[in-house]
Structure formats: structure tokens, C-alpha cells
Amino acid sequence: MIDDVLWADGNAAGGVLARFFAFDVTRMLITCDSCGAESPLGALRLYGGQMGIILRCTKCGAINVRALENGGALTLDARGARRMTYRPESNSS
């Protein structure tokens, strides 16, 4: 039950991930390596702390993306994402 209230949306990770990517990542489609579900990064479940962030699949809960900030170093671990698809021109707003 505690887990039910501890997350926010991946959308809020846009600022941290902007340090890695040259485009807005919140619209990027992430394919979960664990269950194959596809979701915009902005809709993933975001769990965060002072050290970094974890983005989990909304369907199966597997970790898709981790970003850590430690001593000035930025580390991105995206092995839980089978694919990342970005369509620059798509406009779903």
C-alpha cells in the first residue's frame, strides 16, 4: 500500500533526463524489456530520491530506466527498456 502513494509520473523526470538527451524525452515511447508494454516515458511511474530516479513500467512494475547523479557524475541505466522510439514531429498534444 505504501508503494501506491510513493510514485509520481515520468513526466516529472523530464528535467533530470534533459541532461542526457538533446530532445524532450517525456514523449519518447519506452518498450518495457520485461513485459513488452509500450508507454510514453512521461506516463511511466517515477520513484525518486536525492540520489536519482527510477522509472517503472505501469503494467508490470519492472524498472525501465534509472538515472543517478553522484558526485557530479550522471549515470543512465536503461537496460530495462527494450526500445526507445522518438518521433520528433509527432504532436499528440
Partner: protein
């Protein structure tokens, strides 16, 4: 960097702060900024805050911040800033939870408490544009005096026949209150949410449990998952 340009009290616990921003390319309705505070000991705290002012290229943006008494950042924003102060502000961020006035879909906005902030940016953007597709805001607040932007929302509803606003108060209402008086539930959504057949574009923003409940019930009412965009505030009420 951003410079504090104005303050406005919205409710006893919610304040709007206007910032003059430099190197700002403009923003879309629904986007947010990250604010980073650095203590004298080097300790840093960073939080996300929704932009309340309408989308566009204005170099003055407004954030509306709820004072969370045990928050790390919000008490500083609501009580620790003076006009002319500068803070570290980064943005705009997030192209996912955004709305453009060219969008032809009917618009359904569901707000829990200060979750109304990014939805207000959408409403203000809509009001400035020619977009008059049918729309509705369902706004849940604790008490009457906690309704953020109440007078401005009243003006929107009065001046625009295509947009309606429904308020619900979850912790007591004035005697003459004509709105709803309970938490947003299935019956309330069935009554006020635009029909799923109209394929509305839906934005839900508020505390995590509020958003989760509303999104689940909208799905149960037949709305498409891809049509529902959510923004949760997380456990502390400060985003992130």
C-alpha cells in the same frame, strides 16, 4: 535563473509567484519547471512546479505553489522569497502532459487540490485562443476557501458557454453551496465526465491516490487509456 516579479495569495495556503525568466523559449500549457535550491552547506533540493500562466512566449511566468509545512522547497517559495530575489529555475520541461489550442478534441480536466495549476494553464491558454470545443473542469477542493483561482474560474464559466466547471468540496461546504460535497467517485465521473464516445482529451492532476482513482474510474467508464494524461504530485504534495 529567474527573478521574482510579483506575488498573489490564492488561498490561505496557496500563493502565486511571478518570475521574470531569461533565455526562455516559451512554454506549452501543462509544462513544468524544476527549481533547485542550494543551501550554504552545499545541500541541494530540487522540485518540479507546474506553470500556471498560459502557454506562449511571455518572459514572465507564474507558478502557483501550495505551502507544504514539512516540504523542503515549497515553504521557501511561499514564505522565503522577496521581490527581486533570483532562484535557479530550469525549463520548460515535459512535452507529454501538454495541450495546444489547435487540439480539436473535447477537453475534460479533473483537478485534485492544487492539481488545478497546470489545468489552469490549459484553461487560460484556451481562453486566449479561438478554441471553443466543449470542455469541462471537475475540481475537487477541501473547503470553499481552499478553491484555487475560484473567482477567475467563475469568470471563465460565465463568459464561455462551451466550458463548464463543477466544484466538489470534500471537507465541508457553506450552507448555500450548490456544488458537490464528496470525493470524486464513479457516480460523479459518470455524471460529469464527457461521454467516452466523444473521445475527449483528458487531463488529470492531483495527489497520487486521487489521480490513480480517477484514472481507473475513467477507464471503467470506457475512456481510452491513450486519451488520459495524468500528472501525480507524489507523496509529499511537492512534485518529484
Amino acid at each position: 535563473m529567474a527573478t521574482v516579479a510579483a506575488f498573489r495569495d490564492e488561498t490561505p495556503s496557496v500563493k502565486t509567484i511571478a518570475f521574470a525568466v531569461s533565455q526562455w523559449a516559451g512554454h506549452l500549457a501543462g509544462q513544468h519547471v524544476d527549481i533547485r535550491l542550494t543551501g550554504e552547506d552545499g545541500y541541494q533540493a530540487e522540485r518540479s512546479y507546474s506553470i500556471a500562466s498560459p502557454g506562449g512566449t511571455a518572459a514572465l511566468i507564474e507558478l502557483t505553489v501550495e505551502r507544504i509545512s514539512d516540504g523542503e522547497v515549497s515553504p521557501f517559495l511561499t514564505d522565503g522569497l522577496a521581490l527581486g530575489d533570483t532562484i535557479e529555475l530550469r525549463g520548460p520541461i515535459g512535452g507529454y502532459f501538454t495541450w495546444r489550442p489547435e487540439n480539436p478534441s473535447p477537453l475534460l480536466l479533473v483537478a485534485g487540490g492544487s492539481g488545478v495549476v497546470p489545468l489552469m494553464s490549459i484553461l487560460r491558454t484556451r481562453n486566449k485562443s479561438a478554441n471553443r470545443v466543449p470542455g469541462r473542469l471537475l475540481c475537487s477542493s477541501r473547503r470553499f476557501e481552499d478553491i484555487v483561482y475560484r473567482e477567475e474560474l467563475d469568470r471563465f464559466a460565465a463568459s464561455d458557454n462551451s466550458f463548464s466547471i463543477v466544484h466538489t468540496l470534500t471537507r465541508g461546504a457553506p450552507t448555500a453551496w450548490r456544488g458537490e460535497t464528496r470525493r470524486v467517485d464513479t457516480q460523479m465521473l459518470a455524471k460529469y465526465a464527457l461521454p467516452a464516445a466523444q473521445k475527449p482529451r483528458i487531463f488529470v492532476c492531483g495527489p497520487t491516490l486521487f489521480v490513480e482513482t480517477v484514472a481507473d474510474q475513467l477507464l471503467a467508464l470506457g475512456h481510452q487509456e491513450t486519451g488520459i494524461k495524468t500528472e501525480r504530485f507524489g507523496p509529499t504534495g511537492e512534485k518529484r
